[in-house]
Amino acid sequence: MNTHPEQFRDVLPPDEVLIEPSGQFGNDLRNFRAAAHRAAERQASEPVPFGWLNAAKRRRRQAQRRLMFALVSATACVALLFTAALPTLHHSKPVTEAAVHQSNADDTALLEQVDTAVSESVPSSLAPLDALDNLDTKTSTDTQTSLSKPEKKNVSQ
């Protein structure tokens, strides 16, 4: 059952009933108390031996030592892992940088090659073709302009 204790506040019986139930159950609880006291008295009634707290001190020292050992072990593990991973980290960085450098150089070379090819002069035998090409470009521009005009007209209407 996972109910909150506050839910029972309204139905709680009076304190007297809680503190000391009556009847057979009350007697049973008193007997239970007497039995628990008797069971504990067997051991606790003996006089406190000399150096009784020494065992507790020893346990505390052992616990502190264990904690220190755990901390040192954890630190050593982390350091070991870092040391093992260091070469991988160290090598991975220059390789990436070199790849980027190489890629940049390739791009530049390709652009230069394209520029050179485009800027080459046309041989004299191909000059009419060049003129024709220029004419085609001009014609297509004119056609586009003429096509766009009526549209504009329609829009204005």
Partner: protein
């Protein structure tokens, strides 16, 4: 919100409590049986209870200068013992594979007690069986219910004192006590009716 009932001691009693702590050997002699009893009934293990009793008094000795007498010495020591029980149960959950309760308190051992007064052998047997049944029922209560039940019905603490020891509101203590009583009563009566 439940209200907290103050268990703060008057100034004279505070001073007496602090003075009482000055003679630590006497404190151990006076309070060791109570603390041991509380730990033994809470954990159900004699050796563990003895170890934690030692730990409790070592902690109290180390922190004796921090004790201002705001509560009684019994309440203060019981609070330390309860914290040790909590710590132990938490660490036990972490080490669930370990076998625990090697020196567990035997229910028969607890029930092996003869009531006062003139009773017939049959009555003695019946009462012993009822005590064992209550013990079994208490063992099955939740941790908080068991703590409140034991502090009330074994250590005979007042509700305000229990609230002070456990850090709960008095109304929460009452709720736990009510539910614990209901469970123990139902189990104990159900069992005895079933036997008859």
């Amino acid at each position: 919100m439940g209200h907290m009932v103050s268990t703060e001691l008057p100034p004279l009693a505070r001073a007496e409590s602090v003075l009482e702590l000055a003679d630590f050997d006497e404190v151990v002699r006076l309070y060791r049986p109570r603390i041991f009893r509380f730990l033994m009934t809470s954990l159900g293990d004699r050796d563990l209870a003895e170890s934690l009793t030692q730990d409790c008094f070592l902690k109290a000795y180390t922190a004796r200068h921090q004790f201002r007498g705001e509560s009684s010495l019994n309440t203060w020591l019981t609070r330390i013992a309860l914290n040790l029980v909590r710590d132990h149960l938490r660490s036990q959950r972490m080490r669930f594979w370990q076998k625990t309760r090697e020196t567990a308190l035997d229910i028969v051992d607890v029930g092996d007690w003869v009531p006062d007064g003139a009773c017939s052998p049959e009555e003695v047997c019946l009462q012993q069986e009822r005590v064992r049944e209550i013990w079994r029922s208490v063992d099955k209560l939740s941790r908080q219910q068991r703590t409140v039940f034991l502090l009330r019905f074994v250590e005979e603490m007042e509700l305000a004192e229990i609230a002070d020891v456990t850090g709960m509101n008095t109304s929460t203590v009452k709720s736990h006590l009510y539910r614990a009583l209901r469970i123990v009563r139902e189990r104990a009566s159900g069992k005895s009716e079933g036997e008859q």
